[in-house]
Amino acid sequence: MDPKIETKHVNFYYGSVHCLKDVSLQIKEHEITALIGPSGCGKSTFLRTLNRMNDIIPGARIEGEVLLDRQNIYEGSVDVVELRKRVGMVFQQPNPFPKSIFENVAFGPKMLGLSRKLNLDEVVEKSLRAAALWGEVKDTLNKSALALSGGQQQRLCIARVLAVEPEVILMDEPCSALDPASTLKIEELMQDLTKNYTIVIVTHNMLQAARVSEWTGFFLLGEMIEYGKTVDIFSRPKDKRTEDYITGRFG
């Protein structure tokens, strides 16, 4: 099967800083891929190259190819708004809009003009159900999203992404601001979501990577050092640097 996303020799620069070096990897459809590595290793930068979130950074430059379903997303003809609909993103801090729960989820479909074709009530319910939040908020849809707990807010943000029916969901440290119970809920949710979506997650929490992902890539100083089945990376890594990092012997 073709990979959902394939990067070929991706190099990325912030001005003169070379922060991704020749990264090539394949992300399998309907599976979770985790990217791990110490702070500043380039894993979040790499994640953001997958839906061109880095475009807005002045002085940023990318070389190489990022193929989504075999089409290079950096080609001139690509509509970035359409791309980000297909490749959605969830951030570290839950960032709901200061609006109602309903409005948060309905926002994307409305913006993209999908609301004329779809019944918004249905879209909101379906998305909240898929994000495992429906049961907790179904009677308070008109209340402010900011009144939700951190874990609920993060699931709301996931629902907001799901509402525009993406194919890939990028998650940048989605649980680092959450308590263990909320973290587990998000992790469970991620597993459920792989039925319909491809997920790429950046995490500092190696045990989280080990728990949720099928594939793991280890980044160090802008390079992807090792990429493989998660069980192999965490039980028998091939590269000494991977071994040193995951066993906590990093100098």
Partner: protein, 221 residues
């Protein structure tokens, strides 16, 4: 973020395995000494000491669980702990085989010896030696040594064949020897099984070093 205390505890765990290994090795030699010298007191001691071995094994298992729970080991740390969990089972079983030899010695009691024991002490010596070296290979992460030791199991199998053939001859010639000869075959069997357990330990050493689970040696029995 070097994990000094974890490192230390991982070392202690391996030291514990060496201690257990030496207890078991001693049990092999002493059980044979008891059999050879018809020393029922030593045999009883070997049997009694086996509970120390069992206790030590559980103690090490507890430490492994504690390290897994508190440190969430991965990669080679994980492989070491998984290997220890397996090795201590093999050691404990070898201890049981030594205890078995002790019990057979008690059964034989003061019956007149069938023959001077030569190959059985040799089997015990070889098994104890292989055991000690397999644990040395474990702590020094020497997969090559482990593979070599595992192959030496063929010698044990050869001695076992020899003992069996010889005792069969006794039995064929004089049916009055059957009981005594059978008991000695049991002893040989205990030693043969012990050496097989050593090859399991060798496989664990290879696993720790290479991350691969491979059957090495492969006993005839």
């Amino acid at each position: 973020m070097v994990r000094t205390s974890f490192e230390r505890r991982l070392h202690e765990l391996q030291d514990d395995v060496l201690v257990l290994g030496s207890m078991v090795e001693k049990a092999i030699y002493r059980s044979m000494e008891a059999l050879k010298n018809r020393d029922l007191e030593v045999a009883k001691q070997v049997i009694a000491d086996d509970s120390e071995i069992d206790r030590k094994r559980f103690d090490i298992e507890e430490k492994c669980i504690e390290l897994i729970v508190t440190q969430q080991p991965v990669a080679s740390d994980l492989r070491i702990i998984v290997a220890v969990l397996n090795i201590i089972i093999d050691l404990e079983r070898i201890g049981d085989h030594a205890e078995g030899v002790g019990k057979i010695t008690l059964m034989i009691g003061k019956e007149p010896p069938l023959k001077p024991l030569i190959d059985l002490p040799r089997m015990a010596q070889k098994t104890g030696d292989m055991l000690r070296r397999s644990l040395d290979a474990f702590v020094s992460r020497d997969a090559e040594a482990a593979r070599k030791i595992s192959k030496e199991d063929d010698e044990i199998d050869g001695l076992y064949d020899q003992v069996f053939r010889e005792l069969l001859t006794f039995m064929a010639e004089d049916s009055k020897t059957i009981t005594r000869a059978t008991r000695l075959i049991w002893v040989a069997h205990n030693l043969e099984r012990s050496a097989d357990r050593v090859t399991n330990i060798c496989e664990r050493v290879v696993f720790v070093v290479t991350g691969k689970m491979e059957e090495i040696g492969g006993s005839k029995y």
